[in-house]
Subunit: 475 residues, 2 copies
C-alpha cells in the first residue's frame, strides 16, 4: 500500500446513489461465463498456489525498495516465475525510479531519563548531521494543536503522538497517516528541527513503521523518523510529567541518483478480443525494513494466481487478462505513472483494471469506478462473490495507487477490499514477513480477483468507461 493516503483504496469517493442503484445492464455476462466464474471461484478458494508465489518473492528477493538489489532480484524472480507458469508476453518494462537508502539510525531519550528508542527513518527522509540531532521534544496530538503551539516549535523536535485506530476497512490508517506524510513540513514551517512520529500502526511491538514522508516545496526538509509504539508511549508519559524531554537521534539515509527498475508484465491472451485488456495489478516493490509479504507480496500472489487459474480454464477468456507487477509504488508511484505513459495509446482498449494491495486478509467486496451503467454488471459479480462472503460493493475510489494512474484515460477501476483488521500491525515494519500470510484468506482473495477479472473479460461488450467528469484524481 502506498505511503500516501490520497491514492489509497480507502479514500472512496461515493458517487450518486442513482449510479449505485442503476440496474441497466449495458454489459451482459453470458450465462455460461457466469457458470464458469462460479466454478473458478470454488476451485481457487478451495486451495490456491497464491501463498507459494508470495513465498518465492519474499524469500528469493526479500526487501525490495525501488532501485535496491532486492528490487532487481524481485524483477528477475517474477519474470522467471511467470515464464515458467506459461504466461504469454512476459516482459520487464523499464521504469526510472527514485532511489533512497537507509544505512544507520539510532535514537535515545537524554532527559529526564536515559532510554534507547526503537526508531526508523521515514522513507525519503533527509539525514541528520553525522553527529545526530538533539533537541527538546514538543508533543503534538493534532495539526490544530500544532497551530496553537507554533511558537513553541522553533528549535524543537516535534513528536506527533496520534494513535492509529484498528478498523476492518483500514480507515484508521487514512486518518493518522497524514501526520507521517505531512507532519515534517508542517512542523518545519514553524522552525522545528526534526520530527518523530508515533508509528502509524496498530501493534505494540518495538518495531517502527516506516513509510514515505512528503516534503512540501515551501518548507525546509527536516529529518523525520517513526518511533515504535511502546517508545511513543514512553515519550508521551515523560511529556506528561511536565518537565523538558530531550531526544537525540541520528539518521544516516538519503536519496541517490535515479535508478532503474521495471514493471513486470505478463498476459493471458484473449480468445476473441486479444487487444482488449483487463489489467490485474499489484506492486512488486516494498519498503526496506521487512520482506514485503503483506505489502504487497500478497497482492502479487493474488493477481498471479488469479490469472494463472483463468489461463487454466477449458476456455480462454474472451479478452486478454494482463498481470502487471508495478515498480516503485511505495516511494514515488513511478511504476504506475510509467505504465500509463508507455501504454497511452492502448488505454482506450484497457477495459478495466483491478488492484490488490491490502494484504492477506479475507476478501470483503469491491469498490468500483466506471460509468453508471456498469452497476448491473457489478451487482452480478457481487452475487458471484456472495459465497465467499465478499459481495459488498462500494461505488467510487481509485482502485489502488498504481491503477489510479489510468483514471485520466477513463479506464474503469476496481479495488479488491480485504479485511485489514491486522494489516497495520505489520505494515511497513520488519515484521512484514511470509509467516504473516494466512493461506486460507489469501486463497479466497485470489478467488475473488479471478472472478472479477474473468467476468470483466467475458462481457459481450466492455463495461462503460469512467465518464469524463469523474476522471479527476484525488491526488
Amino acid at each position: 500500500m502506498t505511503s500516501s493516503p490520497r491514492t489509497g483504496l480507502f479514500a472512496l469517493i461515493v458517487l450518486s446513489a442513482a449510479a449505485a442503484a442503476a440496474g441497466t445492464d449495458a454489459a451482459p455476462l453470458p450465462p455460461e461465463s457466469a457458470a464458469a466464474a462460479a466454478a473458478l471461484r470454488d476451485r481457487v478458494a478451495a486451495g490456491s498456489r497464491a501463498p507459494e508465489w508470495v513465498r518465492e518473492i519474499t524469500e528469493r528477493a526479500g526487501p525490495r525498495l525501488a532501485g535496491s538489489p532486492g528490487d532487481r532480484a524481485a524483477v528477475a524472480v517474477t519474470l522467471s516465475m511467470l515464464r515458467q507458469l506459461g504466461f504469454a508476453n512476459v516482459r520487464a518494462e523499464k521504469v526510472t525510479v527514485p532511489v533512497w537508502v537507509r544505512t544507520a539510525e539510532s535514537g535515545e531519550v537524554t532527559a529526564p531519563v536515559s532510554q534507547k528508542l526503537a526508531l526508523a527513518a521515514l522513507g525519503g527522509s533527509v539525514p541528520t548531521s553525522p553527529g545526530g540531532l538533539e533537541a527538546e521534544v514538543l508533543r503534538i496530538t493534532s495539526f490544530d494543536q500544532l497551530e496553537a503551539k507554533k511558537s513553541a516549535a522553533r528549535g524543537r523536535i516535534v513528536f506527533y503522538d496520534v494513535p492509529t485506530e484498528r478498523t476492518r476497512d483500514g480507515s484508521g490508517y487514512t486518518k493518522s497517516v497524514v501526520y507521517r506524510s505531512e507532519g515534517a513540513s508542517r512542523a518545519a514551517k514553524f522552525g522545528a528541527v526534526g520530527v518523530l512520529v508515533r508509528s502509524i500502526g496498530t501493534d505494540t511491538n518495538r518495531l517502527p513503521h516506516t513509510g514515505g514522508v512528503d516534503y512540501a516545496a515551501d518548507a525546509p526538509a527536516i529529518p523525520a523518523a517513526a518511533v515504535s509504539i511502546p517508545d511513543a508511549d514512553l515519550l508521551a508519559h515523560l511529556a506528561s510529567l511536565g518537565g523538558p524531554v530531550r531526544v537525540r537521534f541520528l539518521l544516516a539515509c538519503g536519496a541517490l541518483p535515479y535508478g532503474e527498475s521495471a514493471n513486470v508484465v505478463a498476459d493471458v491472451p484473449g480468445r476473441e478480443k486479444p487487444g482488449e485488456i483487463v489489467l490485474l495489478g499489484a506492486h512488486l516493490d516494498s519498503w526496506d525494513l521487512g520482506r514485503g509479504a503483506i505489502d504487497d507480496g500478497a497482492g502479487c500472489g493474488i493477481v498471479i494466481e488469479a490469472a494463472r487459474q483463468i489461463a487454466a480454464l477449458p476456455q480462454k477468456p474472451r479478452r486478454t487478462v494482463r498481470v502487471v507487477l508495478y515498480a516503485n509504488e511505495e516511494n514515488g508511484l513511478a511504476g504506475g505513472r510509467t505504465y500509463a505513459e508507455t501504454h497511452k495509446a492502448e488505454l482506450a482498449h484497457h477495459v478495466a483494471a483491478l488492484e490488490a494491495d491490502q494484504g492477506t486478509g479475507r476478501p470483503l467486496g469491491l469498490s468500483w469506478r466506471a460509468g453508471s451503467s456498469a452497476a448491473g454488471f457489478f451487482e452480478q459479480v457481487a452475487a458471484l462473490l456472495g459465497p465467499l462472503d465478499a459481495g459488498a460493493l462500494t461505488v467510487g475510489g481509485e482502485g489502488g495507487a498504481d491503477i489510479s494512474c489510468l483514471l485520466p484515460a477513463g479506464v474503469p477501476l476496481v479495488g479488491l477490499a480485504q479485511d485489514a483488521s491486522d494489516y497495520f500491525d505489520f505494515h511497513h515494519t520488519a515484521n512484514d514477513t511470509f509467516d504473516k500470510i494466512v493461506p486460507k484468506d489469501l486463497d479466497r482473495a485470489a478467488a475473488a480477483a479471478a472472478v472479477v477479472a474473468w467476468c470483466l473479460a467475458e462481457t459481450l461488450e466492455p463495461i462503460e468507461r469512467v465518464p469524463a467528469d469523474r476522471r479527476k484524481l484525488s491526488w
Copy 2:
C-alpha cells in the same frame, strides 16, 4: 525469570500425595489474621500501585543487565522509592556480579538467497571474530538428532529449530530452553563453529529472544545467537529445499571484569517477632534488549506493593516482612547466592520466602516446599486466594531462582504461579516494555502475594521447615 530452566518455578518436584493431603495444622492462623488477610486481598485486588512501581523501574532505569549503568540506576531508583514509601532498614547489600556486554550484532543468509536475519547474541556468548563467522548451516530439531548427525556438525553452524509451545504454566519454555542453554556446548563437542537458536518464545515478531548460554567446561565456547521466529521459519524453509544454506553472522560482545551491583532490601518490621523474617523476592536486573517490565519489573512491583499494603494495615504483621529485589538473577544468580551467604546466620529465622518472577499474568495459585505439616496452612491460604481464582496448590518446586538459594538452609519456599500464556511472547526481547503490563492482573498478583506473606507472618508458630532430605537443589 532465570535463563536456566533448572531453577525455575516450573520445574516442580511433586512430593508425596500424603504430604499434600495432610490436614494437620502445625501452624495455626488466628481467625482475626485470616479476616485481615481477606480484607487485604480485596483491597489490593481492587486496585493497587504495583503498576506504578513497575513504571518507575522500567522508565527511570530501563534495561538493567547486571553491572550496567541501568542496573546501577535501578538500585538507586528502588532505594529512593522504598525509602519514600516508608519501609524500614532500606539498604543496598553489595553483590559482585559478572558483567557481559553486547555492542553490535548482525547476520544474514548468504546462500541460497541473500536475506538479513534478525538475531541477538545469547547472554554470555563469546564474540565472533571481528569479520564475522560464515559457514553452512546444519538444522537440528532435537539433541537426539544432533547425536545421529554428529559427523555433519564439524565446521558448521548448528541451527536448533525447536518451537516453544504456548502453555499457561510456562512448561513449554521449560522444554525448549535447554537448546538455548546447552545447545552451544553440545554442538561444539562435535566440532560446530557457531550456534543459532530459534528464539525460545511464542510470538511471531522479528525480535530475537536472548537469555543465557551455559558453556560446559569440556567443550570449546563457540558464538551463540538467537534468531527471531520468522527468521527461524525462513532458515527452516531454505533447509527444506535440500541444498546448502549458508549464514554469516557477527557478534561483538563479551565478558568484562566482575562488577558491582546490589540486592535492594527493605523491611516491614514485625510487631511481635521482628527477628523472624518472611521474605518477598523478585529480581531487579533484566536482560539488556528490553526494559524488563514483565521480567521482572512485574515481580518487583508485586512484592513492593504487597509489602507496602501489609505495612499500611491497622496492625503490623507479627513477623518482619522483608522485600528483597535481587541483583543478577538473569546472568549468574549472584544476588541469590550472595543473600544466602551474607545472611547465613539469620536463615534459621527466615520462616519462609516467596518469589514473583512470572510476569504480569493473573495469579493462578502457589507452589510450596516445606515440611508436610504445612499442608493445612497452605490449604487455608488457598481458600483465602479462592476469590481471586488463584487457589491452585502444587507441592514442590523451589519457589523461584533467587530464593532457591535458601533451600539448603531449609527455608520454606513459595512460588507465585501466574498465567504465563503470553509471557513468552515478550520474555527476553526488546518488546519487554511497560505497555505489556496488565494492571488488573498485576493488582491481583500483588493481592495474592500480600495474602501469602501476611499469613506466613501471622501464624502463631512458623510453618514447618523443609526437611533435611528435601533440601537438595535441582541445579
